[in-house]
């Protein structure tokens, strides 16, 4: 007797598969990715009757064709990993469509347990299913569950164990109709004649897939069979033409019809339905939520509420975390001698890691909102409502959600792009999300707009936001017609019935995503923060200050002790001198030198080396630009409201340069944390593309604005 078994959960999207998975495994879950792709892989372990059952939650799919990454991943898992049992979760109130996947599992001849989920809703709406008969017709045990109430999990596990131990194999064969069967037989004979070695798939299954022109299988065969494949290919093309000419439909459609035929045959005897009222309720709600006139305002309202929820509620825990890290820094500074190690700890590690942890409340609330929107069924409606507008700029309806989030913070926005299933859509949405001005850029705008355009600061800041949106639209168009050409799926999406989300499901979902963020971003950010700290600290200035600041400090101390100056004046003087020292230290460091070195390139935009260094420091986080600017102008503790800093900026730069710097800040890639997340979500290549093209764009736009603007001043 085997005590360790693996089962795979398969099922249509919206069949309640995740709920069943959560019920089976509880909180003992692990989330990862399938190797090489961004499809999420969830696994969990449950112990039952002496068995240790490893449960793998396959992605939600409609069939086992090679349509999407999810389908390929699910199919390969079943074929390659050979789980002991495949559990197919079926929405009982939509048997016909949901059983389509089951027929393909039957074709694959995998040990199967069918779970009729949401059995209560189906019963309530008058659907009667003869479980025993259906089970016999489909050749697999059937269990009923009510996922949202946690009913039936034990029975599922019991059936799984029975299926593992059952010796009898009753293979159900699906007939595809005379014409197709004839062709299958003909090609099977050719397979035999050509002495094709046995492959990891069943021959009939391969031929069906070839008739369906399944790209994945074609590629596998091309590789393994080599020259023999060409002969097969010719025969297959012949068969396809033959079937198409006789039945006036292509084989993949004919085969699909045959599968539905098999399902209808089975249901005809075992299933009776009285008209359902459930869709009608959804239909009524949809009449309002997807209304031509009301749809968009309602969506905007929900987005606004979500934005408020994520950022207004998130502000409090963010503050606590901020204060916590501040306290920690204080403790370290007061208990350790001032020096490199304390600086590394406080400025490097706590500053860097704190900068990541501080976003956690936002991320958590965002994923909480997304989970509620998804589980309730509204997300699909939002995509439906927005598709008309987003389609015009080459984006998917759902792209709108991460883009809105981007106005708060780009990090959760990148992660939120996961709601887009298609890779092209997802990457495109991520690449333009940079231009949605995030909250961290606001202090920079406030400082510069306040310094150069005090009377119309609000309008100037607004103009920057608008330019960002315009840039996003333009770049979406450009990228869609070049790099992501044709990488968009035709828009066909299920609008599931509205449901009340379960607390457990929402919480598990939120927790997983948040934890993934903390774990993944945290480790890399730690390393990069240390590197940034080194760049801004070394080489150290030692005693190479331009003037004898230490002497000046001593002088001030003496005058204070002798009582010639007030305490107030003393503090101001000390701060002024220390500010100058900090400025020189920064100029002396590697980052400062890079700034000076890169100055000629930025001179063309009207920036001097100080602005260049500030822009570089903005890579760590955009709000750092303000404090770097302060340090460089020897103003301690500068923030966006700092009047002395505003005055000094106004004195040193022309308003055109100031505005240009805001534009530059808007356009180049957001921050390190965001880039790390970008890499995790989209890969290293895409991250470098993002960094490269936004830098180039920022430079080009600032260049043009400065050079053209110069002609008028």
């Amino acid at each position: 007797m085997k005590s360790k078994i693996t089962i795979a959960l398969a099922g249509n999207p919206n069949s309640g598969k995740t709920t069943v998975f959560n019920n089976l495994t509880g909180l003992r879950q692990h989330v990862g990715n399938y190797p090489g792709v961004t499809v999420e892989k969830k696994t969990g372990v449950v112990e039952y009757k002496g068995y240790r059952i490893n449960v793998v939650d396959l992605p939600g799919i409609y069939s086992l064709t090679a349509y999407s990454m999810e389908e390929i991943v699910a199919r390969n898992f079943i074929i390659d990993e050979k789980p002991d049992v495949v559990v197919d979760i079926i929405d009982s109130s939509n048997l016909e469509r949901n059983l389509y996947l089951a027929t393909q599992l039957i074709e694959l001849d995998s040990p199967l347990v069918l779970v009729l989920n949401m059995a209560d809703i189906a019963k309530k709406s008058g659907k009667k299913i003869d479980i025993d008969l259906l089970s016999e017709l489909l050749g697999a045990p059937i269990v009923e569950t009510v996922g949202c109430k946690g009913l039936g999990s034990k029975e599922v596990l019991g059936s799984v164990i029975e299926e593992v131990n059952s010796k009898k194999k009753k293979k159900i064969e699906i007939k595809y109709g005379e014409e197709v069967e004839n062709e299958i037989n003909r090609i099977t004979a050719i397979f035999k004649r050509e002495k094709i070695p046995p492959l990891k798939f069943d021959t009939k299954w391969i031929i069906v897939k070839l008739l369906e022109q399944d790209n994945e299988i074609i590629n596998v065969l091309k590789e393994t069979l080599g020259s023999k494949y060409q002969k097969i290919e010719k025969e297959i093309t012949g068969s396809i033409n033959h079937i198409t000419s006789i039945l006036r439909n292509t084989p993949e459609v004919i085969i699909a019809e045959a599968r539905y035929g098999f399902i209808n045959g089975a249901l005809m005897e075992s299933y009776r339905e009285v008209d359902t009222g459930r869709l009608d309720i959804s239909e009524k709600v949809d009449r309002i939520l997807t209304n031509r006139v009301l749809g968009i305002p309602i969506f905007a309202l929900i987005m606004w509420l979500m934005f408020q929820f994520v950022f207004t509620v998130g502000k409090y825990p963010m503050n606590w975390i901020d204060i916590g890290f501040g306290k920690l820094s204080e403790i370290i500074t007061s208990n350790m001698a001032e020096g490199l190690i304390s600086s590394l700890l406080v400025d490097g590690i706590i500053g860097g890691v704190g900068g990541v942890i501080v976003f956690t409340p936002n991320i958590m609330l965002l994923f909480l909102s997304i989970a509620v929107l998804e589980d309730s069924g509204y997300m699909a409606r939002a995509a439906f409502v927005m598709d008309r507008i987003m389609h015009k700029i080459g984006l998917h309806g759902k792209s709108f959600i991460p883009l809105v989030i981007g106005f708060g913070c780009t990090v959760p926005a990148y992660m939120g792009s996961r709601i887009l299933e298609n890779k092209g859509d997802r990457l495109l949405t991520m690449h333009i999300n940079t231009f949605m001005s995030c909250g961290a850029r606001l202090p920079v705008y406030i400082l510069f707009a306040g310094a150069f355009f005090p009377a119309i600061a609000g309008n100037v800041i607004f103009s920057i936001y608008i330019i960002g949106v315009i840039m996003a639209v333009v770049m979406a168009k450009v990228l869609r017609s070049t790099r992501f050409k044709g990488m968009s799926d035709p828009f066909v999406m299920e609008l599931p019935p509205y449901r009340v989300p379960t607390l457990k499901g929402v919480l598990i979902h939120t927790w997983e995503r948040t934890w993934m963020y903390v774990k993944k971003a945290g480790t890399v950010i730690l390393a990069i923060s240390i590197l940034m700290w080194i760049a801004f600290t070394f080489p150290m200035i030692g005693n190479n200050y331009s003037t004898d600041y230490h002497g000046q400090i001593d002088e001030i101390e003496q005058s204070y002790q002798s009582g010639t100056i007030t305490q107030q004046y003393y503090k101001e003087q000390i701060a002024a001198v220390e500010g100058k020292m900090a400025g020189e230290r920064l100029a002396y460091s590697a980052a400062g030198r890079i700034g000076r070195f890169a100055e000629p390139v930025f001179k063309l935009l009207g920036f001097d080396w100080k602005m260049t260094v500030a822009a570089i420091s903005g890579i760590a986080a955009k709000e750092v630009i303000v404090s770097t600017m302060g340090t460089l102008y020897s103003i301690e503790e500068a923030d966006g409201q700092s009047e002395p800093l505003k005055t000094v900026l106004n004195k040193n730069y022309h308003p055109l340069v100031g505005y240009n710097f805001m534009l530059f800040t808007l356009l180049y890639f957001p921050c390190l944390t965001a880039m790390v997340v970008f890499r995790k979500e989209a890969g290293t290549k895409e991250m470098f593309f993002q960094m490269g093209y936004t830098l180039f764009l920022a430079w080009m736009v600032s260049f043009l604005v400065f050079q053209i603007g110069r002609l008028f001043i």
């Binding site: 069939s63 349509y67 996947l101 459609v253």
Partner: protein, 100 residues
Amino acid sequence: MRRWGLRHKGRINWKAPMPGGEVIRLIDAVPGKKYRIESINGGCRLNSHLCAMGFIPYEIFYVSRASRGGPLCIIVKGTKFAIGRGMAGKILIRELENEE
């Protein structure tokens, strides 16, 4: 050959011309009416996917919403779908006469 795949009340005589109106594209469908799918011409990959979602020839469906410039909303096999205009242009349908 017996055609399963059929969820139509009553039998259909395949030799006789199809009952119903003109063949039109799904994109031109009118909300509130019932139609029958004639053919799907999206290429192998897309056809397979649409079939898996329940869009197969002779399937009867209901158009719940269609607005100019936006996606359509249709109900197939008891499931509501949003379908983009690009895709809807590739599906040929035929209006059902009022039979009930």
